[in-house]
């Protein structure tokens, strides 16, 4: 058999799918120039220059900004991976947000316990966050598998429960007086900040990078991944192949939730060091949807798209400094998603036309 050409085809397909993501990003940046022109009354080149320099300065241009960009990107790696696993099973786990919140809240609670040595306290805290995410995703997963309720609706409801439960805990039993947060977690539960304690960047970045590789192996090199993807691509064929659909739906949700919960826990343990009253969602979970979409649910791609979204999010502050409304950033993100969604639609229609041509033959 001609192995080279097979690998070539595979590479080409991979390249093509990333190329489309790249194209969407470039087009989105291009279109956003016009909005800057509109907002600032500048010419095209002046607007382009202003926009790109301020995004660059605000994200990678200075050492501090670069570090903070990575701080913002890290939780997106986790939530992007969480969405990727669910997408591969044909599920839409919009509850990554809630699972992330629960992960961080439970990590705070465990992190507050005094008198545990760090080698035990850190795994315990991390494990608690993972478990919280698993439970938060497992409930809608179980309901979907057993009763057939829609996971989108249930996970959205779980998001609100997570938010209000957190607020109850933060403002109630674990409230630090005259603040809107809990006390800081114990030193023994904190993740190592390798650039000094003033820089919020910590080892959770490396945990995220390692996790991306683990998820890649999980999806493509294990029987679990084989079954999960088969269920996502063709449930009836999976069923024929002796793959338990219900079990795999629950499993995929639980894995997705575990990753999200881990993201929440590491965010608490390395960056926030406490839980803060939530006036709305953290948006890490929701941004993860876009991260996974841009990465085409490829775990390694998630790393890069998480950094892109982290950079855009963080540079919004600098943008304001230069008098560009920070909503431009959300506009760019929105347009990227529109283009990528548009490509999905386009492919769907193309597929249907192809099928139509073969009907009745």
């Amino acid at each position: 058999m001609n192995k080279e050409s097979g690998n070539y085809i595979k590479k080409l397909a991979l390249f093509r799918s990333f190329f489309i993501s790249l194209l969407a990003i470039i087009l989105a940046l291009f279109i956003s120039i016009f909005f800057v022109m509109w907002a600032k009354d500048f010419g095209f080149t002046a607007s382009a220059k202003l926009l790109f320099t301020s995004i660059w300065k605000g994200s990678f241009g200075t050492k501090v900004n670069f570090i903070e960009t990575l701080v913002f990107s890290t939780p997106l790696i986790f939530t992007g991976l969480a969405h990727s696993v669910a997408f591969k099973t044909g599920l839409f786990n919009i509850g990554v947000e809630g699972q992330f919140i629960m992960g961080s809240t439970v990590a705070t609670l465990i992190g507050l316990i005094p008198g545990i040595p760090a080698p035990i306290h850190i795994p315990l805290t991390l494990g608690g966050g993972i478990l919280a995410g698993m439970v938060w995703a497992g409930i809608p997963g179980y309901l979907k598998a057993r009763v057939g309720t829609n996971e989108v609706v249930n996970t959205i409801m779980m998001n609100f429960i997570a938010m209000h439960l957190t607020n109850y805990l933060v403002m109630g039993p674990f409230h630090k007086p005259s603040s809107a947060s809990t006390p800081l977690i114990q030193q023994s539960a904190r993740l190592y900040r390798f650039l000094g304690s003033n820089n919020r960047l910590n080892v959770s970045l490396f945990i995220g990078l390692a996790l991306a590789i683990v998820v890649y192996i999980l999806l493509w090199k294990t029987t679990i991944g084989y079954e999960i993807r088969a269920v996502g691509l063709s449930p009836s064929s999976a069923e024929y192949g002796g793959i338990n659909i219900k079990k795999n739906i629950i499993l995929a949700m639980v894995i997705s939730g575990a990753i999200a919960g881990m993201g929440g826990a590491t965010h608490t343990m390395g960056v926030q060091l406490q839980s803060i009253q939530l006036f709305g969602f953290t948006n890490f979970g929701f941004d993860g949807i876009a991260v996974a979409l841009v990465a085409k649910s490829n775990p390694i791609g998630v790393i890069f798209s998480a950094i892109l979204f982290g950079a855009l999010n963080y540079s919004s502050g600098t943008l304001m400094l230069y008098g560009i409304p920070k909503t431009i950033v959300y506009l760019i993100q929105g347009i990227i998603i529109l283009f990528i969604a548009g490509e999905y639609m386009f492919r769907k229609i193309a597929d249907r036309r192809k099928k139509g041509a073969l009907v009745n033959e």
């Binding site: 050409s5 097979g6 999976a238 024929y240 192949g241 009745n360 033959e361």
Partner: protein, 514 residues
Amino acid sequence: MANVVEMKGITKVFPGTVANDNVDFTLEKGEIHVLLGENGAGKTTLMNVLYGLYQPEAGEIYINDKKVEIKSPKDAISLGIGMVHQHFMLIHNFTIAENMVLGQEPKKGALSIDMEKAKKDTKELADKYGFNIDPDSVIDDITVGQQQKVEILKALYRGAEILILDEPTAVLTPQEIQDFGIILKNLVKEGKSIILITHKLKEVMSMSDRVTIIRRGKYIDTVKTKDTDIDGLAEMMVGRKVNLIVEKNKPKIGDVILKVENLKALDHRGLPALRGINFELKAGEILGIAGVDGNGQTELIETIVGLRKATEGKVYLKGEDITGKTTREITDAGVGHIPEDRQKRGLVLKYSLLENSILGIHHRAPYSKGIMMNYGKIREHVNNLIKNFDIRTPNEDVNASALSGGNQQKLIVAREIEKDPDMIIAAQPTRGLDVGAIEYIHKRLVAERDNGRAVLLVSLELDEVMALSDRIAVIYDGEIVDILDVKDATEQKLGILMAGGTLHKGEKGGKNNE
């Protein structure tokens, strides 16, 4: 005779394929003309062009020697062309008369439909062509054969002079096919011209006046039926000499492998589909299940392999009760299953051949150990399958969706045989395949029977069941009505059983007729 239809140089291109390449076709007044070709040869495409469903890239169409442009089925109908599709387009909870007039309802006043006139018209038309139907019957309650008559009447009601019938016999029992032949003769007597799309050679010989053969989108020839024979037609259709007879030795029957006892199950709507099935299958034999589509075949297979729950009864494999076990447990107990829908069940189309080659056995050594897959071994395995079963593919990394139907089916057959099962369930193993692939899969199934495996063959093609089976069980309305030895089985006997009759009565009736 005058040409009522003349199609010249029709070319129709779909992305990636040329479905019709410069095809000529003429239909004379009052003839039955068969359009013959394998699945995917472009017969239906050509007729869809004539019926206005597709616009050709090139070519001209003449109706009654006048050049026409047919842009939609509406144009076609106004030119007197009617088409009966393979899948009927009837509203199931409407009566025959209501279906007949749908879209052209006779009005009483401005708003209300004149149902009396609709019924009268239906009755008159039916009587004229000798159709025995009651205008008040609801479609759901009548047989498929009768539904087909309604479809033909619908076309006639809309003034069709030229009738296109797409694979009309696919859903009929042998007796219904005979009736259908008479209907065609009646229609021709009334001056209608008929185009029949089919790939069944026997029907071509018995029903048609002329045959046009299409192969891979190209026009091959038009011949008079009386000047040709089945072998000649097969050769033109496939492009080479084919062996239509399956050669097999006497079976070496072994132990009972599968025993099904009083098996009952529901269909997807929750209605009883199996009403107490009983049979035994032994090693070294092929048991064919014959029956008209929708009599419980699908549910029977699904229940045996654990995809559907039995409500009552037992299934034993090698004496062991496997009722209610999971599909994986049943597969592991020694069952190979070639499913009836290869694209929906048999393959994950967006998986590569590599990944598809282990569907159902991916949890077994040496393909995986613990949770880690061993892709080295899997690659060896798939390359063996490709080599031993002659699967035509550029390599093992392409998606299964890129293969032709025949090669997809070969991959499934290869995978299931290589599982080394005690029993192979083959459901519609050759549906939609070309003659070459059919030949191959038939040979392979017989070879597995000779290797001492038990083969359960479920097929809607009676010829296939009769050619391969050692014994034939006939299923009707969720019951096995009779099991015949292949020596005693004739098409007529099976036909009676398939229509729900009993052989006992049938034989009596037969004598009376003599």
